[in-house]
């Protein structure tokens, strides 16, 4: 039975089994339920900022969105365990605004699903796919400490 993992108290790195990395913490428990409700996190902007900067990889997606699922499956398939922040429809606008504030250097509108790697906005599904096909995604993930070996 998986225990609920409180955020900010995750020791890094956790395990380094060959091929299976648990470097980034996750806001989801084993049954994929959000442990932290968006409301609790949204109020202080700092929490979102620290969430982003402390995760090697974090994905912001609309709740139940299939494209968010695609991004997550792709990253999982590479051996990365990305943090996932599911956004309710009513919180969408607010979350986007905050993400744009902490985007850390990337231009353009923030759209869901939005992927942050190594603390800065990487892009959406388009960019993730293109970077993966060109073979550049894995080195970037390794640099950010999301992948070992």
């Amino acid at each position: 039975m998986q225990q609920a993992i409180p955020y900010k108290s995750w020791p890094l790195p956790l395990h380094t089994n060959t091929g299976h990395t648990q470097q980034s913490f996750t806001l989801l428990n084993d049954t994929n339920q959000s442990l932290v409700s968006p409301k609790a996190v949204l109020k202080p902007t700092e929490d979102m900022l620290s969430m982003v900067s402390e995760s090697a990889v974090i994905v912001f997606a609309r709740r139940g969105c299939c494209m968010g699922h695609v991004v997550r499956r792709l990253l999982l398939g590479l051996g990365v365990n990305p943090a996932l922040y599911e956004v309710d429809e009513k919180d969408e606008g607010a979350v986007i605004k905050e993400l744009e504030l902490i985007r850390n250097g990337k231009d353009g509108k923030v759209q869901f699903p939005a992927v942050f790697i190594g603390g800065s906005l990487f892009g959406g599904l388009d960019r993730v796919m293109a970077t993966h096909i060109s073979g550049d995604l894995i080195p970037i993930l390794k640099d950010a400490g999301a992948l070992w070996l």
Binding site: C65, M67, H69, L125, M129, A130, I133, S134, G135
Partner: protein, 361 residues
Amino acid sequence: MNSPSAQFVTSRRIGVYDPIHQIGMWGENFKSNSNLNASASLIVEDVKLDSQSQDASHGTEGPSNQYDQEATKPTDKVQRRLAQNREAARKSRLRKKAYVQQLETSRLKLIQLEQELERARQQGLYIGGGLDAGHLGFSGTVNSGITTFEMEYGHWMEEQNRQICDLRNALNAHITDIELRMLVESGMNHYFELFRMKATATKADVFYMMSGMWKTSAERFFLWIGGVRPSQLLKVLGPQLNPMTKQQSLDVLNLEHSCQQAEDALSQGMERLQQTLADTVAAGQLSEGSCNRQMTNAMEKLEALRTFVGQADHVRKETLQQMLHILTIRQAARGLLALGEYFQRLRALSSLWATRPREPA
């Protein structure tokens, strides 16, 4: 022209009420004889009476029969037979009338379609590009976005065949790399053009794109989210690119692997979408009949389908471009040629299959 009686004799010899034969007779008479109804009904009645007694042929009763006591029973039987026969003939006439009306309507429709086709041909449009005989767009409403796409696809295919020929000739003629590069770039741009066309058509009808309706049947067998599976293509074409350097072989293998991973992620997303859509449609009690809300929610979910087709094409495009990075110009030219020929073969297979001799039913 054959006289009705001669045709009737043939039918009589067969001894069965042969509807096809009847239709043939009706059809020919219709063309050249305005007395169709009269002569045809005679034929019908005569055939019907083939097994009946001769004197009952025109539905008249013989008054002489009534005087004979012993003949009363036969008279009744005869009269009953006459009545039944009249009834059957009447029903047959009605059926024939309905059938002829149906034929008339279809004939008019056919003339209309032929006229449209002729008009379109004269304007230089190409209808029916890669479509088999089997595809007939039964959507009811005319979707101009799809019609446009099919027309443009026809042109695209013609251009594609030309480019394949050019590539083949160029490689055999050992032209310079610079000239080859131009051909390769044309080829690549041509594929990018197809992706653009698909993007526009997806807005018109995503289900059409998802079902690969513009493709031939053998191509459709390999369908994955509205197109080919990049990893599969790489597996097929990889060996055709030899000789390659070790590094190139490794790069192609890695690319194949990356495609596989991207495809898996998209496929899993699709499964999720299917599940979500199924749940949305089935929301509430199925036995209560559908309500607006389920339909509205379901429609929203379907919007996501367009994104999937877009993403799948994005992966295909990126794969093409990555191959261009990995290969030399000459290898790329050979690769494009192989790709084009592979699809030509698949299309030929579709035609062969469509025209294969059918087993007798």
